[in-house]
Symmetry: C2
Subunit: 212 residues, 2 copies
């Protein structure tokens, strides 16, 4: 019985990817169950916190027994990314950083689909990046109205990012991965900025959890 998502605090959400990685590893190693205290030890936290966290989402565990790794893995996977319901992402700016990040999205993330890219460089328009077509930036508005992508990856400089962000919000973009040299949350309290933690094995999808 899952609880209203906006009851889940940001600290809890931030911990989910770490849980996910450990549990995935255990599953791969054939571990069948784990107790909150064992999990706490390897996570570097307390058993209390582990139980509190899991109980935000409903009772995953069995009293007297512990937590079943498969159940845990499935539940946390569902929370972080439902494969059958990938989030549509568009890339703005297909420069060196944009191309690298696209590869990363394709290969290293789950739950996201790179649907299209946009650039102003005529040499790039019409080509594609990691399977996504590169459109003229002028077609951005039309594209968004038609396809309603959920998130945008910004790989453009500060100034264009500053001017483009509010437009994107008005076009229905609900979240950003912002690689521009500009803090989007500045003057845009509406914007849910989810910076990618590249060093984190999976990004914190607080965005999804808090908005769905």
């Amino acid at each position: 019985m899952s609880v209203s998502p906006n009851k889940v605090s940001l600290p809890v959400i931030r911990r989910l990817p770490k849980y996910y990685r450990y549990i995935r590893e255990m599953q791969q190693n054939g571990v069948a169950k784990i107790s909150s205290s064992e999990l706490a030890k390897i996570m570097g936290t307390t058993a209390s916190q582990v139980r509190q966290d899991f109980n935000c989402f409903g009772g995953f565990g069995q009293q007297g027994i512990g937590y079943n790794i498969d159940v845990l893995y499935n539940e946390i996977s569902k929370l972080l990314f439902s494969e059958d319901n990938k989030i549509e992402v568009i890339l703005i700016g297909v420069g060196s950083l944009g191309q690298t990040i696209s590869k990363w999205i394709i290969h290293e993330t789950r739950g996201y689909h790179l649907a299209a890219a946009f650039d102003s460089n005529p040499q790039l328009i019409g080509k594609d990046v990691c399977g996504a077509p590169i459109h003229n930036i002028r077609e951005l508005s039309e594209y968004c109205k038609k396809n309603k992508p959920t998130m945008a990856v910004l790989c453009i400089p500060k100034e264009p990012a500053r001017t483009l962000a509010p437009t994107l919000v008005s076009l229905g973009i609900k979240g950003f991965w912002n690689f521009s040299h500009y803090d989007l949350s500045v003057n845009n309290p509406d914007i849910t900025v989810e910076n990618v933690h590249l060093g984190d094995s999976l990004m914190t999808l607080g965005y999804r959890l808090r908005n769905e």
Copy 2:
């Protein structure tokens, strides 16, 4: 009179780069002073928090008047990065991501100096990346003992990162920018991982503040 650094909480440290950007902008626009309440309004926080934050580092303000922009800019700059005391960074892994990140370090960060890079690819060894020589990864240990770099940027896959991290720690590396697909803090509670928030105009240098 600066207060013992370990008294400064992580939330405060995380807010510093945002303060920095706003204040830099004001300085560039010729603004001379600002009150905590004005700053709070544009930061999206409370005047109380602004004053509490600044007072962690000593009295920047003037009662009855407000905060002098130049003083604020200088003090926060000093906290985030002292130009005359740049942190030595080494890059591990000169692939596509490594090269892109190097450019970013050179062009978009302050307070860091890319001193050397390491790779196992013979085609790269001997060349350089953004002015830093690319060494054979085998020379890593010797290099660290001799030059004592402070931080390492990891742009290598998960497995090499996992095995290399403890070695780097034992070689005196105090912080990481971790772009590998592996959470370094896992099983290494000693490691101060500072993931780069590329989307943040400046990275949170909690590392420096908490360690110096």
